[in-house]
Symmetry: C2
Subunit: 370 residues, 2 copies
């Protein structure tokens, strides 16, 4: 973060985002959903998937004609516990939000629900959707495929998306268990952070066409797009570190994001065809499990909380004074930001000021002066 | 494997195992299930979880009074899609088989099924149960907790089981997608192999109380039991390799194996109390998802097969001529063994000959002569 970093109050950002999205042709109710997903990422510290994505990943793609601002949410097939949804390349957040809500409603009635989605688009940070289930005393399990970037074990070609598999579970603590992570060791957002800081990346995160580690973060950003580099799966190169496991999890997510919904996968998700930008017709899946169908939610939360507390209280490695559980750092970030807002750096101020002008929202300009 | 290795025909092993288990007090129908799980592990190459476990992990524990040969399978709570089962420390394979079958039956009727189990015991290789779902054109997702052995990120204490999270999915190939792996880099069975071969293990698999790598495989086997060493999560020590992700997945499995079923977890699963052997009251979960509820099974299988074929056909790392997908090595092993049987080494011959004598099954002795 730069010296010029300031925090912009959530209310300002939220109102601006809805207004600018409406100007871009997104219906207001949909804009509210998208705004909530993007701002929530910043609230929890998933900064690479927050409001900084509004322009490049969403508004620019609408302008490029590869993302439909009006979302046609079509339920292709439905049973009491399941559904298949076609998102027709509408706004991914809206498609995902409605799909997760369907899974939650089904789980409330029938104990479990699962919705498989095709022809969706980038839906923001994956952790948003299991958290929706948690608010209903449910377990949320979700995933999505993505533009191919992970090489399989013994391979060097970008084949699988960074394919997060997410889990959310309520606990008796102030915050739920939330695991939202790519099935590769790292992902593009983290490389971007290294590039901005002009830092070399650790060995083993990215390999070139010869299977050698690439650590120059700026080069990696270009090479990933060009297909000259690929992420390694969780567990790393080869089999010694268990890389076939991360590769296996990434494959699970690719299958669950494509086969149930008869959607697109792997190289179909390059976003480029014959040199022209084309949609990324992503697939997702959303599973909701109602805790009431098994036990009292309070009893579930107690054991979950006990497991997490015992993990944190266990013996530390020399030099470490804290063991975290999944979701804890996100809660810490929220505690730190809740009275401040979204952190803005110079580039973000410029980008938001630019949007004020492009979309005729000059009244917001004073908020986005560096 | 030793020079003396020979293959014992499956029919001989299967009959013997059922007979010896009946002698040990296990009802015949239950013995058939257990036999099938253990032999299937050898058929697919999960040798650390095969017939070699019959005596030490099952018959000896029955003799020690910490495992009930007669399984009381109690359904504590049930809804159309879900159930909670108490296994009363009966035979884990029987409990798991019946629970997965319940989940499958529920999924056939309602699209999805999930059964959460408490007070079970070691159920063999985890991959058996998702494969049951696959045979019904369903997706199987299962997991179990285990004796604590993984240290959390920034910790050194054995807290979480090696907690496999398994996935089985049908494809249009001769074999299904099957991912059955511990959420640690490695597990005890693999350390045993290194110890038998007198080999040092790679760095990073196991850490001591100071967080330093331990590579002496024989020492590690003792230190793991004594709590002086712990496995590292998939992703390794610290955060650079994504170790918090493997730690997160292990935690997910621990929660899903304990909180829904109000069962035991982590240090409750040490198997030792006040210096005496006590039961390991494990928890499992079994999820079945009916593909018919989403799409035609043949269409699902086609896309799954295409994903796997494209992964295998992708560009290899220099020096590698083959990329595998999950379940492929297991199928190769089966092709190699299907006309031969279970590989036996000297130690296994001795162990099986010993069981012939102990349980009065001398007619089998000629099969188990070295």
């Amino acid at each position: 973060m730069t010296k010029a970093e300031r925090f912009i109050p959530f209310a300002v950002i939220e109102n601006f985002m809805v207004d600018v999205m409406v100007k871009a042709g997104i219906p207001k109710d949909d804009a509210k959903i998208i705004q909530d997903v993007l701002v929530k990422a910043d609230k929890l510290g998933f900064d690479s998937h927050g409001v900084n994505r509004l322009k490049p990943i969403y508004l620019d793609r609408i302008n490029d004609g590869i993302l439909n601002p009006e979302t046609k949410f079509e339920v292709v097939k439905e049973t009491p516990t399941t559904a298949v949804v076609d998102g027709h390349n509408g706004m991914g957040h809206v498609i995902a939000y409605k799909s997760m809500q369907m899974a939650i409603d089904k789980a409330k009635k029938y104990g479990m629900g699962m919705v498989a989605v095709r022809n969706s688009t980038h839906y923001g940070f994956a952790g948003y959707y299991p958290l929706m289930a948690v608010e209903h005393n449910q377990i949320g399990i979700t995933g999505t495929n993505a533009r191919p970037s992970i090489a399989p074990t013994f391979g060097v070609e970008n084949m699988l998306g960074t394919n997060p598999m997410t889990f959310g579970m309520p606990s008796d603590e102030d915050f739920p268990f939330l695991l939202d992570c790519a099935t590769s060791i790292t992902q593009r957002g983290k490389v971007e952070v290294y590039a901005r800081q002009g830092k070399e990346m650790p060995k083993g995160w990215v390999i070139d066409e010869n299977g050698e580690s690439k650590t120059n973060s700026q080069e990696v950003l270009e090479d990933l797009i060009a297909g000259r580099a690929a992420f390694t799966p969780l567990g790393g190169v080869g089999e010694d570190g268990g890389g076939y496991k991360g590769y296996g999890y990434a494959t699970v997510v690719e299958i669950l994001s494509a086969a149930l919904q008869q959607g697109a996968y792997m190289k179909m998700l390059m976003g480029i065809k014959d040199g022209k930008k084309v949609p990324y017709p992503l697939g997702h899946f959303f599973i909701a499990i109602d805790i009431n169908a098994f036990t009292e939610p309070d009893d579930f939360k107690k054991i979950t909380g006990d497991i997490l507390r015992q993990l944190r209280a266990s013996k530390k490695m020399p030099g470490q004074n804290r063991i975290y559980t999944a979701g804890e750092k996100e809660h810490d970030t929220w505690m730190n930001r809740k009275d401040k807002g979204v952190p803005f750096n110079d580039a973000l101020f410029d980008e938001f000021a630019g949007m004020c002008k492009t979309y005729g929202l000059d009244s917001y300009l004073p908020h986005f002066q560096k």
